[in-house]
């Protein structure tokens, strides 16, 4: 591996490490829950490996247990995955020159954590090739850890599932999101968009349910940008954490 690639992998590992460590419990809980719900270990690993979204996986388990109709499964899955489409739209310019197969691999791996880390990397200085390496490194690291977690989960099975709530393992996901949000909140622009998103979410949730996550974010962004253009304010930076 050439030196700059090695640097990017090391950087990816360093920045991903705390997020990897906290994605592990969630993956384990999912695997355990699958087995505890009397589904097979193989199903657990297949879902973790091919759906690769904790929210969707838990919902999938719910669908299986309640033998939900395929139309509902399809529509709900589309609604849940819309934010991944947004993540991809945000990064599409960066991956344009890459071959299709490479793009598909990167697209598949665009979870919340990978997106946030990668978006920040693309906004920094450095060569494009290095940033793509960083993206790929994050892709590999998160996926491997996630699969390991799911495998551990199906192996440990019932014991974990029963205690997951007592040990508060489900909190790890949200602790991670809160810790990821914090640096953004140092800038006024991000504080405003976060507040707007929160208010809109609280107002719209009872009407829009799962869609409220994406819609509230988009409307908040739109309101802020419209306000900014009306008041002719130029942003100092790209909205990244300082």
């Amino acid at each position: 591996m050439d030196p700059s690639s090695r640097i990017e992998w090391a950087l990816a590992f360093k920045r991903s490490a705390p997020l990897l460590l906290s994605s592990l419990p969630t993956a384990i809980v999912f695997g355990a829950l699958m087995v505890a719900s009397k589904l097979s270990a193989l199903d657990g690993i297949v879902m973790a490996g091919f759906i690769y979204s904790t929210v969707a996986q838990f919902l999938g388990l719910h669908f299986i247990l309640t033998t939900t109709g395929l139309a509902v499964v399809f529509i709900t899955t589309v609604m849940l995955s819309l934010r991944f489409l947004l993540y991809a739209l945000t990064l599409v310019d960066e991956v344009k020159p890459l071959p299709l197969a490479y793009r598909l691999i990167l697209a598949f791996s665009l979870t919340d954590s990978v997106f946030i880390l990668t978006k920040r990397r693309f906004n920094e200085g450095g060569g494009q090739k290095d940033k793509i390496t960083f993206f790929l490194a994050c892709t590999c690291l998160f996926y491997i850890v996630y699969l390991i977690g799911a495998t551990i989960g199906v192996l440990i099975g019932n014991a974990v599932a029963q205690h997951a709530k007592d040990w508060g393992l489900n909190f790890f996901v949200y602790a991670t999101f809160a810790a990821l949000l914090a640096p953004y909140l140092k800038s006024r622009r991000n504080q405003i968009v976060a507040t707007l998103s929160l208010v809109l979410y609280l107002l719209l949730h009872n009407i829009l349910h799962d869609l409220s996550i994406v819609i509230s974010s988009l409307v908040a962004i739109a309101l802020l940008e419209i306000g900014r253009h009306l008041l002719k304010i130029t942003p100092k930076n790209k909205g990244d954490p300082p």
């Binding site: 906290s22 996550i213 962004i221």
Partner: protein, 109 residues
């Protein structure tokens, strides 16, 4: 058995298509205004995902807006720790410990 496999298959294909849609049709680019606006996506969407986790009760209906929610308090603690210490490990595990403590004193959501 068959229906279960179909559910998984539908979800796998759907998620993959939605995720890769933008990366497949790369010749269609967003206008510059939209691209600049999408720089705001991370703080906006992390907030709503966080809110979804904090305020939606296990029963899934309505919103739990109680301030004595261990999720809410611990998430705020996570944010504060990150802002002061700037170390994700400390923030995540520190707030997790707080969550465990609060879980014993406050009602579970």
């Amino acid at each position: 058995m068959i229906h279960q496999d179909l559910i998984i298959l539908v979800m796998v294909i759907t998620i993959f298509l939605v995720r890769s849609f933008a990366f497949i049709f790369t010749s269609y680019s967003l206008p510059k205004v939209a691209k600049e606006a999408l720089n705001l996506l991370p703080p906006a969407i992390i907030t709503t995902i966080l809110a979804d986790g904090i305020f939606v009760p296990s029963s899934g209906n309505g919103l739990n807006l109680s301030l004595l929610n261990p999720f809410l308090i611990s998430s705020i603690i996570a944010i504060i720790i990150t802002l002061r210490v700037n170390n994700l490990f400390v923030a995540i595990f520190g707030s997790y410990v707080c969550y465990l403590v609060l879980l014993h004193f406050l009602p579970i959501k």
